[in-house]
Symmetry: C2
Subunit: 492 residues, 2 copies
């Protein structure tokens, strides 16, 4: 069965695509660079979204919705932001189609319906939101403004990969406004930790929390904080970013507030986002050659039950046990599916749910029933054990918790094994091929050196970890003095 | 305070805008025809969405996500659908901006980044979805396919109104595929009833369930079912539609399935949607000259508590009662807000929450505390009563339930009073101005007559009610024979 999925060793990139498509997370679409998120993949995203949304609300944020389109003149206002995104903007220029006079049944763009000002499909919403905040913020009483939006955004990409890089993707973007620099920095760091906690505790993917070097910063930010995850091929994946925007957008859109002393000042800002890209990282962090491995806390189905029987009489006996068990499981919050469809054999179903990464599988036949027991198979270790039907629901809950911890620990051990201190350029270059992962190396702090290293090796500075130990050293490339190691890696 | 809001009698249209903006549901944006949904309005939408989403899942549907863009060639495929939406399409023609060589810091559309094929921003997703279903459906085993999508859509509008008619709006669109005509019709009717139940039971707005005449049908549908609500000015509002699409999209996109006998046939389809437009209907159905009136089941805040006191000592005494009361209320599922901010006086707060339509307001001062009681004011009737603090939480729950029923009953009585049987053209024309509402009148069944009536009176056929009694009569305009009355109204 699992022959359908290309193995990691054979072709890692094809393995990834097989998992996404055959695991039914997503599919290609008729639109270049855009994907369809299939029901199973969307259920996963819904679970992730619900947890994150709750975390945002617990930290005082509310949701709102801003327009999809950004008039070009607003888009231009914050120059660095505009410059950073200009090359990947989908642009609406017309607002009407009309019948093609030369081809019956076909349509053409109506040249008379040209917009006076072009509209950019939002690649990110700072511009449209800050043009609105201008009318919402007058006084310190209006601050802080802590707003989040769940939305689709478009960034034109030439080379796309399902979830990892698509022209349109789904995300959330927080946009906050504050009276002081300190409060805005605190917010940016707080949301970085919300992301870190979410990705580690729910997605079971360990991350490094850090800050970006200048050249990797978000266009328009003063500082970009990020969480970086490590994939099984040793490449890094930026899993979320939180930006301290200083007063850049407030100045671009003239957003001032009067403080308690009635003094006017520009507002301080943050923005922060995670996207459906996280799903790509999730897939590559845990899965194996048999298919997906999903962490129980966000898996759409946590337990699948497969009956092994022939005919209605046998089936009825199994139903008599399974139906009340399902009730007990649901009462304990377990997302359970009873796959009693009769158009596929149990062996086919086993492979199917392995491919889809369902954490636990229960198989039960007549013999089991007589013995008052059933088999549980873990997706992560593929271990099978037989358990008494008495207290079976508790066993399921216990195993789901254990799987969540186990897959995190496995990924954490992998991450730790693949952070390597490097002190010579030769080792740096060699290790990037031989033992990829994070290379912890000294850097002279200049954008020039960073650029040079990228050109030579395709490795970039993923981040300067928060609370990074300070130590004297020499830059891996230039030998110039350095005060700390930073993390390099090749990245998605 | 309520002077801020224009009265209905003075200017109904301005009253509506005042409610939406001063009730903090939405705001105008910098983008022509697009609105910003503010946090309070979005919380209302979230509550509506969560209930609907659950109803969809209970009826076997799953969520997925399809691309924002529709390539023009796909958009054209179903001719009637394309023709119906062509005039209101936002069209993406380019995928890049570049620096304007003549104006430093400005951007222009890069003429070298012109798309080979233009992309339509989805006005509805049948085309993109059915082009995908083609690859998902081969056999009867793949059917029914019951998928819903929550998304933003764009329909260019020249004259816009907050919530009621905006270029971009949020909605859900169900798109289902079936093996038989009967099953598809059944699905379309089932979802109409889901909408009807939702709007009546949660939004407390009574609706008429019916089917559209041919000229009011969705472009590409065989039948359009709809729910029609009545606003306080006697105009109708289409609150939701469910379409039986026949095999039109299956034929346009060549989607066939093999049945159990291995015979190939085109798939049968439905689509159905409700949008943020519902919020506009909600506002106009219940509100008064003091502000919004929101039904408790979907109100973002169900109860607001306003302390009446001076200084920290008094406040501490009130807190000592309110904090545990809030816990008891929350345990009962009540969405409660304690507005103990000290920068506004109680009277200001009272007006503020009336404007925002919060169903219940609790006011409590020191005297109340001594007497072991507090005041509750209902937003719908503006009645105030004093209740013992003992069992106060139960009283709140009871009153919220009563308010939900009361505002529905009030709207239902209004609807019933404003469905008028009319048998002469003179009465028809006169009543449309004197006593607007639904006019139940005979119609000869032709599109010509319908069009003529619309030209003469601006009234359209809102629907032919489901299970409409059959009776012989004469068309209100032409006097030709008719077999049933239909409902006419002027509409939003
Ligand atoms: Zn980083
Ligand atoms: Zn109708």
């Amino acid at each position: 069965m699992s022959k359908e999925i290309t193995s990691r060793s054979e072709d890692y990139s094809k393995w990834y695509n097989d998992l996404v498509i055959k695991g039914e997370l997503a599919d290609y679409s008729a639109v270049r660079g855009c994907m369809v998120i299939k029901p199973y993949g969307f259920a996963l995203w819904e679970n992730m979204r619900d947890v994150l949304d709750n975390m945002f609300k617990q930290t005082g944020h509310v949701n709102a919705y801003f327009p999809l389109f950004v008039p070009k003149s607003l888009f231009e206002a914050e120059e660095k932001n505009a410059e950073g995104f200009a090359k990947e903007c989908a642009v609406v220029t017309h607002y009407r189609l009309k019948a093609d006079p030369e081809h019956k049944g076909k349509l053409i763009v109506d040249p008379e319906a040209k917009l006076e000002e072009e509209l950019v499909v939002r690649p990110t919403s700072e511009a449209i939101i800050w043009s609105t905040y201008k009318t919402w913020i007058q006084s310190y009483r209006d601050l802080p403004l802590l707003i989040n939006q769940w939305a689709n955004v478009v960034r034109w990409e030439m080379r796309t990969r399902l979830f990892l890089r698509t022209a349109e993707f789904l995300w959330q973007e927080g946009h906050t406004a504050h009276a002081t620099r300190e409060e805005a920095v605190e917010e940016a760091v707080k949301m970085l930790h919300v992301y870190g906690d979410f990705v580690e505790q729910y997605m079971a993917v360990p991350v490094i929390r850090g800050v970006k070097s200048e050249s990797e910063r978000f266009a328009g930010a003063v500082d970009t904080y990020c969480i970086e995850a490590l994939m099984q091929d040793g490449k890094a994946l930026q899993a979320g970013t939180s930006h301290f925007l200083g007063q850049n957008f407030a100045k671009a859109f003239d957003v001032k507030f009067s403080d308690k002393q009635n003094k006017l000042d520009y507002v301080w800002a943050t923005s922060w986002g995670v996207s459906t890209r996280l799903i790509g990282g999730l897939v590559m962090a845990h899965s194996d050659d048999e298919g997906l491995i999903l962490p129980p806390k966000i898996a759409p189905i946590q337990l699948v039950i497969v009956p092994i029987c022939k005919g209605e009489e046998q089936k009825a006996k199994i139903d008599a046990v399974i139906v009340p068990l399902m009730d007990r499981l649901k009462a304990k919050g377990v997302r359970v599916k009873y796959d009693d469809s009769d158009n596929q054999r149990p062996g086919w179903k086993f492979a199917e749910y392995e491919k889809k990464g369902v954490p636990l599988r229960m198989a039960i036949g007549l013999r089991d029933l007589e013995n008052g027991q059933a088999e549980l198979a873990r997706r992560d270790t593929r271990e099978k054990s037989t358990y008494s039907l008495e207290g079976f629901d508790d066993k399921v809950v216990e195993l789901l918790a254990d799987i969540q911890v186990s897959i995190f620990n496995k990924a954490k051990a992998f991450q730790q094994e693949n952070i390597t201190k490097v002190d010579t350029w030769e080792d740096f270059v060699r290790l990037l091929d031989e033992k990829p992962g994070f290379l912890s190396a000294h850097w002279d702090g200049t954008a020039d050196t960073e650029e040079k290293i990228k050109e030579l090796t395709k490795a970039t500075i993923r981040c300067i970890p928060l609370d990074n130990p300070q130590e004297e050293g020499k830059c891996i490339l230039t030998g110039k003095p350095s005060t700390q190691r930073v993390l390099f890696a090749r990245a998605y």
